[in-house]
Amino acid sequence: MHLSREEEDILGGEHGAAAAKSMEILLAICKIFGAEKLIPVTSAQISGVSYKTVGDAGLEFLQSFAKDGRVRIPSYLNPCGMDLEEWKRMGFPKDFARKQLRIIQAYQKMGVESTCTCTPYLIGILPKKGEHIAWSESSAVIFANSALGARTNRESGMSALASAITGKTPYFGYHLDENRIAEVVFDVKVKLEDMSDFGALGIYAGGIAKQRVVAFEGMEDFTVDEVKALGAALAASGSVALFFIEGVTSEWRVVGKPERVEFGSRELKETKESLNSSKDAELIAIGCPHCSLEEIKEIAEKLRGRKLKRKLWVCTARKIKTKADKLGLTRIIEEAGGRVVSDTCMVVSPIEDMNFKRTAVNSGKAAHYLPSFCKQKVLFGSLKDILE
């Protein structure tokens, strides 16, 4: 394997202990996956932020890494375990909050921007087609690869941090043309009506595709948010990192005779049923992945002049919430008894310790993870269904 002079220097410790460790991590990944070199990346998106997922071990590691670790490229955080401004009012446990804040501080010390969102692409972080990046949140990875045509592997929080500190990533996997070819094609035979339908398609297709690249035929008429929901679900039930939509995505590589699978009204119905384990809920949670401003507008329109009987969290990036505040959308949602929550989401926050046992969602990804990550029973339906 060839290392540049600069890479040798980093490995030798000339840029500090954390940088040397980061280089060791990337070189080990090169060995494991047979990558022959490192390539520069333009941004890193780092998961492993919630105290709930990384625990004391992660906190201790990040604090020690932050002693001399500094990022070299624009780097962004995934959601953490609580709203960083409203956690007290929202009833987050104190000990949890204290440790969560320390994790954020460690990342900030390293120079990582505390965007705390899984949708960096909704707040202006938009890598271009063909751009190499190192992102780790699975729904952001699949969106960047598929909708933007950027190139990233499914990084872990640690490998993305190592890339942030060195500015490099191992050259293998989805960075190469030869691995960006669909191996399973889904023929969509049913009209998908809203985000929950797109999420259900993603859950179904991901379960069959596992780690393979997916192509969709027969899909028409959809929004960016629906593509976001589809990708997030594909990356949750499978470990899909890239998909193509015929006539839409900038890349479309289907060669030879890939496996073909039909997705019709029966598959849609059965998948939605399989994600449902409750008929009611204490909490309605929307925003997995984080809501766009358009989604918040839609929610506010549906809630104008109403009073909800259940708690409602609308999860979004802080930047989007600020826009929603200015447009008066946050107030409409609050007047209906809901909250616009930033920096976190229902999956990475400790909702199971906050007296929630049943949660209503319109996200396929959230419906897939909530039973195991948060011990929740799930009511899965369209936005209209869950707000009623």
């Binding site: 991590i25 625990g55 201790e60 872990s156 929080g157 640690m158 490998s159």
Partner: protein, 133 residues
């Protein structure tokens, strides 16, 4: 008997081999306070890995498992070194951040030659494993 392999994490260590035929998930399967395997279904159930040369095919489970290995080390309960049949990222990254020497891909089925209780020297710089007895 010295066996050549591939260096994954640097450093040199020796100890008694603790051999598992099954993969290990450091997150949830091992008590990081004691270094003891707590999954009743695992062949190393109730065995302590502290100070041992931990020999197992590969890691599995969540990537947060790397941090669990780091915590074992902080608690003084980590293995002295790790030998894998074929490394994957979770254990490799965990070994690197915890400064635990690690070698994989031993030549000529060397992995199967390491018996439970053998005295072993792992050289993570050169990528070798020596079975002393």
């Amino acid at each position: 008997m010295k066996i050549k392999g591939r260096a994954i994490s640097k450093g040199k260590a020796e100890g008694e081999a603790l051999v598992s035929k099954e993969a290990i998930s450091f997150l949830g399967e091992v008590d990081t306070k004691t270094g003891v395997v707590v999954n009743p279904k695992h062949p190393l159930f109730r065995k302590c890995m502290a100070g041992k040369i931990l020999v197992f095919p590969r890691g599995r489970g969540s990537t947060v498992g790397s941090y669990a290995l780091y915590q074992l080390k902080r608690n003084g309960k980590a293995p002295n070194a790790i030998v894998n049949e074929e490394a994957e990222v979770i254990v490799a990254v965990g070994a690197i951040i915890s400064e635990i020497p690690m070698v994989d891909k031993l030549e000529r089925k060397g992995f199967k030659l390491i018996k439970n209780g053998s005295k072993v020297v792992v050289d993570g710089d050169k990528g070798t494993v020596e079975v002393i007895r």
